[in-house]
């Protein structure tokens, strides 16, 4: 019985020593990130044996909270990544050097100077300089956006490298924990280490961890279930050029020989956040800027082509603008000999969006507008004929000749055509980016100030003998594509508008005469009629012999019968500013989906601003959420020094008492010996 006391005290000494050691371990690791405090649990010996034993060393944590922290970490890293990127975009767009609106203001100010004094060469030169600087502003802005996209690639590569090394480490830890656990050793701190690695990993992608053997082996999965680490094997992530658009990189996962694109499966985390920034913010902004550049150049070009320059020649394009958009074919496409083209039929109708075309069957296809997810089905589209207007739903035509099939689709201002030998194959995909090149490919086309077409090519002269008070309000060229009838120095068809005697109903009518031979005027019928009703303020449209509308003259007030207006080429009309004025008026015109150029730019700013604002709010909220989860977890697993101090005293006293048992035993033993002696 007495020797039992010795054994009890030895056990107690060992047990409390061990408890003191772990108290020490806890105190030592008070600042170790991810450390879970450990507690030594005592238990009595199996009766009838007396004594105490260390039952286990418990790792105090809460695996649900740990998982919660991982999820919240992914959400935070995603919004942090997006917030940082959009902050760059934000500061890029508010900075004056890329401020398109300021450049547009300067452009129009210079244009107005030319309106004041179109003959003055210095004004023309200044306008060209400002136009050039506007082009540079467009290009710089796009260049910087492009750089941001290129930086994303570099960053994605380094993130993927980190992910690969983390998953490799987790796989190795799985092996180590398995073997230590088999030999019954303490694996608590290795588990902490592994949880910490998973937390690092969740900064990049959303992950789930499952374990089928009570937490010895951890399998790490992507949010959709794709395994990243299973047991001792880690999958390898990589980066490759995107498909169909190679500049939009994608993330791959390789297991053995199988390589899969997992870009859309990344969930949150910095990597996922980066792609979501690219797809929902950067790419749309680039498309918007490109569209604005296209709309601006084309609407300016159209007017400029309707004008006459200082040398009496018709204006040419003022800006070089992209004539085609980007069309990419998916690398998995099966159609033979496929060729694509993407052109524009009306830039002002373009939307700043990418489109996905999918061949869905024999002669059927769908188009998805990625900006708003709108679906266009070939079965809803009208047939495309040369004269048909393209409706909201688009129009298309299919024809085959010479063994080739040709699909032509018109939608939202662009024309997509696909030529294949034989039928296009079901499942083939094409990515269309109509406006992405708009700013990059913009340039100034005119370098000589004399070539600026600020004058109207037509001169309308009222006959001096006119007795009515009708006067010319405006002259407009109707077809800016073909101005060949406006030959330098002469109009191939000079005309005279003559007001006739009032008709039977007392209304004023007019007749248009071709006066190519002034001595022998020939009536030009308008809509088949020789005499047409005159309404003040309504344009008088002059057609060519083939009945194409060439130009229109608008008069105000009332002419008298016999009054006439001569329309001829504006030879020597160097001081005329009519076309420059029309160009200047474009500043406020609703050229771009109901917005003026600058309002459209303001819309882009507001869009970027509100997205930045929303992301910042999400970022701050996610900080709070992660903070709360980490707080809960820390309050469970973290070391409290006061608590450890208490335990230190508690175990120290138990240890002292146990030691006292030995001296007690010795005293008893000594008493016994001396009694016996």
């Amino acid at each position: 019985m007495s020797s039992g006391l010795l054994s009890i005290s030895t056990q107690a000494l060992t047990a409390n020593q061990s408890a003191l050691a772990y108290t020490g371990q806890n105190i030592a690791n008070v600042n170790t990130e991810g450390y879970s405090r450990q507690r030594v649990n005592f238990a009595t010996q199996e009766p009838p044996v007396l004594g105490v034993a260390v039952q286990d060393v418990q790792r105090i944590t809460d695996q649900f909270l740990v998982q919660q922290v991982w999820r919240d970490q992914s959400a935070l890293s995603s919004s942090e990544q997006q917030a940082k990127k959009i902050e760059l975009l934000d500061s890029l767009m508010v900075s004056d050097s890329t401020n398109l609106s300021t450049a547009l203001d300067s452009y129009f100010e210079a244009l107005q100077l030319a309106v004041d004094d179109p003959l003055f060469i210095a004004n023309r030169q200044l306008f060209l300089t400002e136009a050039d600087s506007l082009v540079s502003t467009f290009k710089n802005l796009e260049q910087r956006l492009e750089n941001q996209q290129a930086n994303l690639t570099t960053e994605a590569r380094s993130m993927v490298t980190s992910i690969n090394s983390i998953t490799q480490n987790i796989a190795q830890l799985n092996v180590k924990i398995g073997s230590l656990s088999a030999s019954g050793q303490n694996i608590n701190s290795l588990k902490d280490e592994r949880d910490q690695l998973v937390k690092e990993l969740s900064k990049y992608v959303s992950v789930d961890v499952i374990s089928s053997d009570g937490g010895v082996t951890a399998s790490v999965l992507l949010a959709n279930g794709e395994p990243l680490v299973s047991g001792s094997r880690a999958a390898v992530l990589g980066i490759r050029d995107g498909s169909p658009d190679p500049s939009q990189i994608e993330v791959t996962l390789s297991r053995g020989n199988v390589v899969a694109d997992i870009t859309s499966l990344l969930g949150e985390g910095a990597l996922g956040g980066m792609f979501s920034y690219r797809d929902t913010i950067l790419q749309p902004v680039r498309s918007e800027i490109g569209r604005l550049a296209l709309v601006f150049s084309e609407t300016m070009n159209q007017l400029h082509r309707e004008g006459m320059d200082l040398n009496g020649l018709m204006g040419s394009d003022l800006f070089v603008s992209a004539k085609t958009g980007q069309a990419y074919a998916s690398s998995n496409n099966q159609s033979l000999g496929a060729r694509t083209s993407l052109t524009f039929y009306d830039v002002t109708q373009l939307k700043a969006s990418d489109y996905e075309v999918e061949i869905t069957g024999l002669n059927t296809f769908t188009i998805k507008r990625l900006s708003d997810g709108a679906f266009f089905n070939s079965s809803d589209m009208s047939a495309l004929t040369p004269s048909s207007d393209v409706g909201e739903l688009g129009s298309f035509s299919l024809d085959s000749s010479g063994g080739e099939n040709r699909l032509t689709v018109k939608l939202d201002g662009f024309t997509f055509s696909l030529t294949t030998s034989g039928a296009a194959q079901r499942g083939d995909l094409f990515l269309l980016q109509p406006t992405i090149n708009g700013a990059r490919n913009m340039d100034l086309a005119i370098t000589r100030p004399e070539s600026l077409a600020f004058a109207s090519p037509l001169r309308v002269t009222p006959e001096p003998a006119n007795s009515g008070n009708a006067e010319v309000v405006s002259i407009k060229i109707l077809d800016s594509e073909d101005t060949s009838y406006l030959r330098p120095g002469q109009l191939t068809e000079p005309v005279e508008i003559v007001f006739n005697a009032l008709n039977a109903s007392g209304e004023q009518t007019y007749t248009v005469y071709d006066i190519t031979d002034p001595a022998n005027p020939v009536v030009v019928p308008i809509n088949g009629a020789n005499e047409n009703l005159y309404t003040a303020g309504e344009p008088i449209v002059i057609p060519d012999p083939a009945n194409n509308d060439l130009f229109q003259i608008t008069l105000a007030n009332q002419p008298n019968p016999g009054d006439s207006f001569l329309v001829e080429y504006n030879t020597d009309g160097v001081s005329d500013n009519a076309n420059a004025l029309a160009m200047a008026n474009l500043q406020r015109a609703e050229t771009s989906n109901g917005y003026s150029y600058q309002d459209a730019y303001g819309q882009i700013l507001a869009e970027v601003g509100s997205q930045a604002n929303a992301i910042q709010i999400a970022y701050m909220a996610n900080q709070t959420i992660l903070g709360a989860a980490e707080d809960s977890l820390e309050s469970t697993r973290g070391v409290n020094l006061d608590e450890e101090a208490t335990r230190l005293i508690q175990y120290q006293q138990a240890y002292a008492a146990s030691a006292r048992l030995i001296t007690t035993y010795q005293d008893i033993f000594d008493s016994l010996i001396s009694a016996v002696r």
Binding site: V94, D105, F108, D116, N570, G609, S635, G638
Partner: protein, 309 residues
């Protein structure tokens, strides 16, 4: 609730960092004087700023358009008033020539003076601006307005185009008058090959004063006087429309200035910082940060280890 020791520190760090970043935010606003330094802070404001700045830039343009239009109109007005005076002098001379008591010698003298007057008036009607552009040639600014023909008469070489200038967001003003309107104001008999203007009227009058006598001379003088009155009525019509346009310029300028003030005000309301509110905010945030410093200093002293051992 159980708290781990590190939580005390992380919590304190978090509070202080947040306090500092808020303080830095308000500090950057105060130093820039701007209400927002990024689009995110006021997305709608940012797009409003774009359109308000465009308004201001256009108002600037309108101001310079008004100034240059005023200069151009005044230039035209001066020339027209000189021409009007010249025409009056010519009228006096012609009336004088019609005086039956004059000798043919006297009439010849008058005709010489009238010839000079034709040259003088032609010079005025061919007026050019400082950059050499013909004022009254319509759109044909490099073409001399009136050309003297071999028979001594003048033809108008310009056209009837006038230049329109934008002086307010929806207001356009004609900054020039064509010679066609100003000077080609005389109705000539049907079939006449001579254009109806003051120069040709005087050329024909000189012809008549030199060569005609009696009733023929009387007819010539009466025709000339009738035509000169047509010339003068057109000139005075022109002067009054120019005056009207100058008045419109003045009122456009005034309303533009009002609009400019309004726009500046609207822009400032969006863009400029309210310093009073900002400095209150600064003080508040400073106080909060100081409080978190003070509480941390107190808490970090507490430890059981200070009492045992």
């Amino acid at each position: 609730m159980r708290i781990s020791t590190t939580q005390l520190y992380t919590e304190a760090t978090r509070n202080m960092l947040e306090g500092q970043s808020k303080l830095a935010g308000i500090q950057s606003k105060i130093s820039s004087g701007k209400n927002f330094t990024s689009l995110a802070e006021d997305p709608v404001g940012a797009s409003r700023v774009v359109s308000l700045k465009r308004e201001l830039s256009q108002l600037d343009t309108f101001k310079s358009n008004i100034d240059s239009t005023r200069r151009r109109l005044s230039l035209g007005e001066t020339a027209i008033s000189d021409i009007t005076n010249g025409v009056q002098r010519a009228e006096e001379l012609i009336i004088q020539a019609g005086n039956g008591g004059l000798s043919s010698e006297n009439r010849l003298q008058i005709s010489y003076e009238l010839e000079e007057m034709v040259e003088y008036l032609a010079g005025l009607m061919n007026a050019r601006d400082a950059k050499g552009e013909y004022l009254f040639s319509g759109s044909k600014g490099t073409t001399q307005t009136f050309q003297k023909q071999v028979d001594g008469t003048y033809t108008y070489e310009g056209d009837s185009t006038v230049r329109k200038i934008q002086v307010a967001s929806s207001q356009y003003i004609e900054s020039t008058d064509s010679g066609q309107f100003l000077f080609q104001s005389v109705t000539m008999p049907a079939g006449s090959s001579v254009e109806g203007n003051v120069l040709n009227t005087l050329v024909q009058a000189i012809e008549s004063i030199r060569n005609d006598t009696g009733a023929q001379l009387g007819d010539g003088i009466a025709t000339a006087l009738d035509r000169l009155s047509q010339v003068q009525s057109r000139l005075s019509e022109a002067v009054s429309t120019i005056g009207g346009r100058l008045n419109i310029l003045d009122s456009a300028e005034m309303s533009n200035e009002d609009f400019d003030l309004l726009t500046q005000g609207a822009l400032s309301a969006i863009e400029d910082l309210d310093y009073a509110a900002a400095s209150t905010e600064l003080a508040k945030r400073q106080l909060a940060l100081e409080a978190s410093y003070a509480s941390f200093a107190k808490i970090q002293n507490l430890s059981l280890f200070n009492y045992i051992g």
